[in-house]
């Protein structure tokens, strides 16, 4: 093919210069190119992430001292609901799969696009519709929802606020998530490059595969649950209304049947990202490839069986408590296997401490804290004390933000040069990381202490004995936000001003590093043939 030579020498513009049916904005929002859709997702997700951060910041500000600081209780209740809904449904769940998965899954398995490009565009549009409905819920009806992101019945079926619309938004978002999962699973089944057997597939696609199945099988359950909340509010069907014989605890079952696996929808892709970052920057093959791959499936599988551990004090039966507690402990094992394999991948590597690796290592540290504090909650008797306290809030922020969030930032720094063909300022990115890391721990670690002291969550006001730790936490939030601002400023500036990079700035070995930065339209001139595993580095001696 004659034009390959041209592609190598032309200035890197890649798929950005693609001439399609439309131009300008429409060339993006009607594009079926997986890379454009990935970037569309990324932009929308980051905008909503910032909104979520602002809500979080306001909550922390309110809690800086006891009594009223800046808002009324009703406002606070709405804000923590919105913070949860936005961060979970609009940021973390779509975050890694929809943004980075869309961009890199086809490239990493040697395909030109996903299996259903038009469906892929549809799922972005559904995402945006979900966002629009969620926003409408804020400004119409009788005020933003005040139920918490869990929408627990019967409060959610009784409160006068605009729950129906918000729940409908979540329903639409679930549908978007299902379509993404469906697309990825089919893509991985059908479009792997010739020679790429399952065990020659990089670990990020592996984690997306596991995630895809959870999205497919768990999301419909929340779909029907949320629909039922709407029916309950509109028609008074009665399935969750104790006065009509309904059982509020069944709502919790249905809700957590989805929402616990959803935690793995959030964390698995981040684990996949870490499995990509570490071998590249340690410049050696990953330790225990198959164990990491299988543990993704094990986490997805076992993770779907443990939802009852959210309900130990809800009044579910003693038998269920014991069964779910036991299963919960089992799901810790595949996570532990992953962590040990990652750490071992550093052994005898040739490590360059680039920013992505900083994020990856802090992921391991923070995720370990999150996971280990999860063990405390898994233990029945301890759970009774810390359930619904700030301890839980600390725990899931360590897992979701310290885990998935840092994984997301790691992915951002790891793949930024590939996506945009430019490098960010490395020094600035390290400083930003430092602020994020310190701020994060200062913000969330006090919550463990608060929780153990007995500070319930979702409290607008608190007793004076909790003040010191709340104050510390709020100060941490300021440091964290400075780090975020610094990080985004650096990245945005680098979009135009960053130094141009070649196809493989880190010395990576997976397929995305074999094509130009940014990738060309359709990714590959010729579909590559794969005859070896994903992490074989030049110059690394084998054992």
């Amino acid at each position: 093919m004659g034009n390959r030579a041209i592609a190598e020498h032309a200035p890197a513009a890649g798929f950005y210069e693609e001439k399609g049916r439309f131009s300008g904005l429409f060339a993006w929002i009607f594009s079926t190119d997986h890379k454009r859709i990935g970037l569309l997702y990324m932009i929308s997700i980051l905008i909503l992430f910032s909104v979520g951060v602002v809500f979080g910041f306001l909550m922390r500000l309110e809690l800086v001292s006891p009594g009223k600081t800046i808002m009324e209780p009703q406002t606070y209740n709405s804000i923590f609901t919105l913070h949860g809904v936005i961060m979970i449904f609009l940021f973390i769940i779509p975050g890694l799969p929809a943004a980075f998965g869309n961009f890199f899954l086809p490239i990493q398995i040697g395909a030109r696009d996903v299996a259903f490009p038009r469906l892929n565009l549809l799922s972005w549009w559904l995402y945006i519709s979900g966002v629009v409905f969620a926003l409408l819920a804020l400004f119409t009806g009788s005020g933003p929802p005040d139920t918490g992101w869990t929408f627990y019945a019967p409060y959610s079926t009784q409160t006068g606020t605009n729950v129906s619309l918000a729940v409908f938004a979540a329903f639409i978002l679930g549908f978007s998530s299902i379509l993404t999962g469906l697309n990825f699973v089919t893509t991985i089944h059908r479009l792997r490059a010739p020679g790429m057997s399952w065990f020659r597939m990089p670990l990020f696609p592996w984690s997306l595969y596991a995630t895809g199945w959870v999205q497919l099988l768990a999301t419909p359950i929340i779909g029907i649950t949320l629909l039922l909340v709407i029916f309950e509010r509109l028609f008074g069907v009665g399935v969750f209304d104790p006065l009509k014989g309904g059982d509020p605890i069944l709502y919790q079952h249905l809700f957590w049947i989805y929402s616990h696996p959803a935690v793995y929808i959030m964390i698995l892709p981040a684990m996949g990202v870490i499995s990509e970052i570490i071998p590249v920057h340690a410049h050696r093959t990953i330790f225990g490839y198959r164990f990491i791959a299988y543990s993704s499936l094990a986490i997805a599988g076992l993770g779907s069986l443990v939802w009852g551990h959210h309900m130990f004090v809800s009044g579910q039966s003693y038998t269920a408590d014991v069964v779910f507690s036991l299963l919960t402990f089992l799901v810790a094992i595949p996570s532990a296997i992953k962590v040990f394999n990652w750490v071992s991948t550093l052994y005898k590597g040739s490590i360059v401490m680039e920013t992505p690796l900083l994020y990856a290592l802090s992921f391991i540290f923070l995720f370990s804290i999150g996971g280990l504090s999860g063990l405390m909650q898994g233990a029945l008797s301890v759970n009774v004390h810390i359930h619904d306290t700030a301890f839980i809030v600390g725990h899931f922020h360590y897992v979701m933000f310290g885990g998935t969030g840092f994984g997301f930032f790691g992915a951002l720094h790891h793949w930024f040069p590939k996506m945009f063909g430019r490098m960010y300022n490395k020094t600035h990115s390290r400083i930003a990381w430092f602020f994020l890391f310190v701020g994060f721990n200062m913000l969330y670690f006090p919550m463990f202490i608060l929780g153990w002291m007995g500070m319930p969550r979702r409290y607008y006001d608190y007793l004076p004995q909790f003040h010191t730790w709340h104050l510390m936490s709020t100060i941490g939030s300021w440091i964290l936000i400075s780090g975020l601002i610094l990080m985004f400023a650096n990245l945005i500036r680098s979009l135009r001003k960053g130094e141009r990079v070649g196809s493989d700035p880190w010395g990576g070995s997976t397929l995305e590093w074999s094509i130009s930065s940014p990738p060309p339209k359709e990714n590959f001139e010729e579909i590559p043939r794969i005859d070896h595993g994903p992490y074989e580095f030049k110059g690394a001696s084998k054992e």
Partner: protein
């Protein structure tokens, strides 16, 4: 490669489309799965009340609807079989029958619901609220589940109608193979088989630069063949229709036969 004058269509991965559809069906199954979970729990809590409440439903109407839906599944399957055999006319007739049967099902459902409403049995009605708790739940589930199922039937009817108009409107002239998997055809010969599988026509060996193959049916009687893309679509729509049938297969005994 479009030597025969047929525009090369966007590639369709036939198996990929089928996997995609099956995955979608799984999500539908689990959507109803959530309702079945509620049903099984409430039934286990209130067996007697469910028993009494089910007596309000008309078994004959239920059975009739079951037969209608099963038959529509048959005509659906037959219509796909017809298109595989290239019999477009039969395919269209069978598809039309499927749509009519689906509509009959909904009409029946409409009258059934209507009868309940006129007796004052509908969610949150005063009459219904005077019932036992288990009975309120039974009817809550009845309206939600059959309503949701009816909605799926409606969607199925719309999808099948779209398929039907597509098949009516599109003259089908050839088959296009393109994209992934083409490299497997390297060195192979394409052939057209006659009635008794004899080779009516055979191509030269396909060389390695081939990315797509289009075969026009210029010399075959029009109306006997259809493009792969369309029968893949029809087949996936068929899968959806059968799933709706499967859901009903469970709804029927759970609501009508537990008296």
């Amino acid at each position: 490669m479009s030597a025969t004058g047929i525009a090369v269509e966007q590639h369709k991965d036939y198996i990929g489309a089928k996997i995609g559809m099956w995955l979608f069906l799984f999500t539908e199954l689990l959507l109803f799965g959530g309702m079945f979970l509620l049903y099984s729990v409430y039934r286990s809590k209130h067996p007697a009340e469910f028993h009494n409440a089910a007596a309000e439903l008309d078994t004959i109407v239920g059975t009739l609807n079951t037969i209608i839906l099963l038959t529509s599944s048959l005509t659906m399957a037959l219509s796909i079989a017809a298109i595989h055999r290239g019999n477009k006319r039969l395919c269209m007739i069978l598809l039309a029958i499927t749509i009519v049967l689906g509509t009959c099902f909904l009409v029946n459902k409409y009258f059934e619901w209507g009868a309940k409403f006129s007796h004052g049995i509908y969610p949150n009605s005063e009459y219904l609220l005077s019932f036992e708790k288990g009975e309120i739940l039974f009817f809550g589930l009845y309206f939600t589940m059959t309503g949701l199922h009816g909605l799926h039937v409606l969607v199925g009817i719309i999808v099948l109608t779209v398929m039907l108009t597509k098949i009516i409107n599109r003259p089908h002239r050839g088959v296009v193979f393109e994209g992934v998997g083409m490299e497997k055809l390297q060195g192979a010969h394409l052939a057209v088989l006659g009635e008794r599988d004899e080779r009516v026509w055979e191509s030269e060996a396909i060389d390695e630069t081939v990315r797509s193959v289009a075969i026009s049916f210029k010399y075959l009687p029009v109306g006997k063949r259809i493009r792969v893309e369309e029968y893949a679509n029809l087949e996936t729509s068929g899968l959806y229709w059968h799933l709706v049938d499967i859901i009903w297969i469970f709804l029927f005994p759970l609501f009508y036969l537990i008296t």
